[in-house]
């Protein structure tokens, strides 16, 4: 029944290694916190892609606050004490305490008593016009920096061998717009202010209560039926998509936590609310030609090129055979793979061997912001591009 170990020929890499263009056209938006001003003259597709390709550090340049309005603390690293001086239309702390949804959100997130209710109100107000400074724009930029720092340090230390594209995609799956939208809407219970002014008037609701919900100008992607759009150029720069607005509120709340309660509690909050969520990193990988990649990987690590050997099989002559093959480098078994054909089993063993390498996780990894961090190798895995 069991054949002796038979070597299945492993095709040598003969085709030219093509740089896949898909990777360059990645649409990652780690923090589109700042208002994106679109240039009406440029309509080419590349232009749009490069605009969406934004990381937190890029948005920092895009600040819309004048230096004269900014009071900078003596210690410039004291990020919590930068202040905007002309906050004339700010909601006072007393008024913020009167809004029930703000008070209950404060309690639901178990924020410390130092955390001001007015900051929470500010976090829920997205920029609506250029006259008012009372919005979460600056807060959300600050928050996205904090988030990307803590999430990337966690991933870099826990999975030091992840390729850069996978790393960025994984960071995005923790703190991208859609994940943060899910946090804001489906676990923190932030409401969106979708009622019209007439409805507010009719419902007899106090004027103050509108600040308890997330306020933003909704981006209209599809015009209503029977409405013809004539002009492309009129774009409100303050328009936000729903997910972006909710995500910015989460970023701002985290920035507020840093400001009021300090770095340590912001870190713990991110650990509890963001990094505790489930992301299956092994299913992020999508290998095009796993055999070739494994050959190259072994070569750069001075190991023998992969050999696939049949370990066991059943029902070769039936309609549902199963083969179990092992992927070996010399005498070392890298991974096994099972499948209903020899080819399927072979490819599966390659993919598992690659994932076993890339998803290496050190035991009890310390992140750089921990006090007892001793330094480590990062990105040891990516020796070729």
């Amino acid at each position: 029944m069991f054949s002796s170990r038979t070597a299945i020929g492993h095709k040598s890499a003969s085709r030219v290694w093509n740089a896949s263009t898909k990777i360059q056209n990645r649409l990652i938006s780690i923090s589109p916190a700042a208002v994106q001003k679109t240039n009406p003259n440029s309509n080419s597709n590349n232009e749009i892609i490069s605009k969406k390709y934004k990381f937190s550090y890029e948005t920092a340049k895009n600040k819309s606050i004048q230096n004269s309005h900014l009071s900078i603390p003596n210690n410039k690293f004291d990020f919590a004490n930068y202040n905007n001086n002309n906050n004339d239309d700010e909601i006072t702390e007393e008024n913020a305490k009167l809004i029930p949804s703000i008070v209950s959100l404060h309690a639901r997130l178990q924020l410390s008593p130092d955390y001001k209710y007015s900051t929470l109100v500010k976090s829920l107000s997205c920029p609506i016009d250029s006259n008012s400074n009372f919005n979460n724009q600056q807060l959300s930029i600050f928050g996205s920096h904090i988030l990307s720092f803590y999430v990337s340090e966690y991933l870099l230390t826990n999975y030091p061998r992840l390729p850069i594209s996978i790393l960025k995609s994984t960071i995005d799956s923790y703190i991208g717009n859609f994940s943060l939208y899910d946090i804001a809407k489906n676990s923190w219970g932030i409401d969106e202010d979708s009622t019209s002014k007439l409805e507010k008037y009719l419902s007899n609701e106090p004027e103050l209560f509108k600040f308890g919900r997330l306020r933003f100008i909704k981006k209209v992607t599809k015009p209503e039926s029977n409405i013809i759009k004539y002009s492309n150029s009129i774009n409100n720069p303050f328009e936000l998509s729903k997910s972006e607005a909710f995500a910015n509120s989460v970023r701002s709340i985290i920035a507020g936590l840093y400001i009021h309660s300090g770095e340590e509690s912001a870190k713990n909050f991110i650990n509890d609310h963001i990094l505790s969520r489930q992301v299956d990193i092994s299913s992020v990988f999508d290998f095009k030609e796993p055999g070739k990649l494994l050959t190259r990987l072994l070569k750069t690590n001075n190991m023998l090129s992969p050999t696939v050997r049949l370990i066991s099989e059943t029902g070769r002559l039936s309609n549902s055979p199963i083969y179990v093959v092992g992927c070996f480098s010399g005498n070392d078994l890298l991974a096994t793979g099972e499948g209903s054909s020899l080819k399927e089993a072979r490819v599966r063993s390659f993919v598992r061997a690659l994932k076993a390498w890339y998803l290496y996780k050190p035991l009890d990894a310390k992140v750089p912001s921990d006090s007892n961090f001793n330094g480590m190798f990062v990105d040891d895995g990516e020796k070729f591009y």
């Binding site: 209950s104 997130l109 390729p163 923790y174 219970g189 969520r277 489930q278």
Partner: protein, 150 residues
Amino acid sequence: MVGVNFIQQVSRARNGVGAFVLPCKRITITYCNFGGSSQGTRDFLRQRLPKFAKQYPEVEFRVLEKPGKHPVLKGEYTTPNTFTSENGDTIKQICVRKWNIDIVENKLKLLINSSGKKLSKPKHTVISTNPSVRGIWSPFYVDPNHRYKI
């Protein structure tokens, strides 16, 4: 990296791993100011509501007068995709017609402690999003001497 593409994911919530956020975010109590069926609810509003609401700061309480209607307790939840109201929020409603003050309080506790999900009989003893620790069973785990010969 060349040869490695990615499949974008969205992280999945695991409430209680790390932080626990109470799913119930809002309770709306509607009552009639004269009807006999609202007697127990009115008693609750007068005597116990301030103290009760203080015990649950996570929940926003709303009181709504609806003359001529039976009293209803409505809970709104953050949990998505179950019973939904007009604005897409998950809700659960309990009619407390003719119930006395203690039952009204217990029903409120029931609403607050609920996850907002529809009640259903669990089909599996363990429900988890994690992959199995044991892995997938394979016919090769069986001792070769006891295997069925094809």
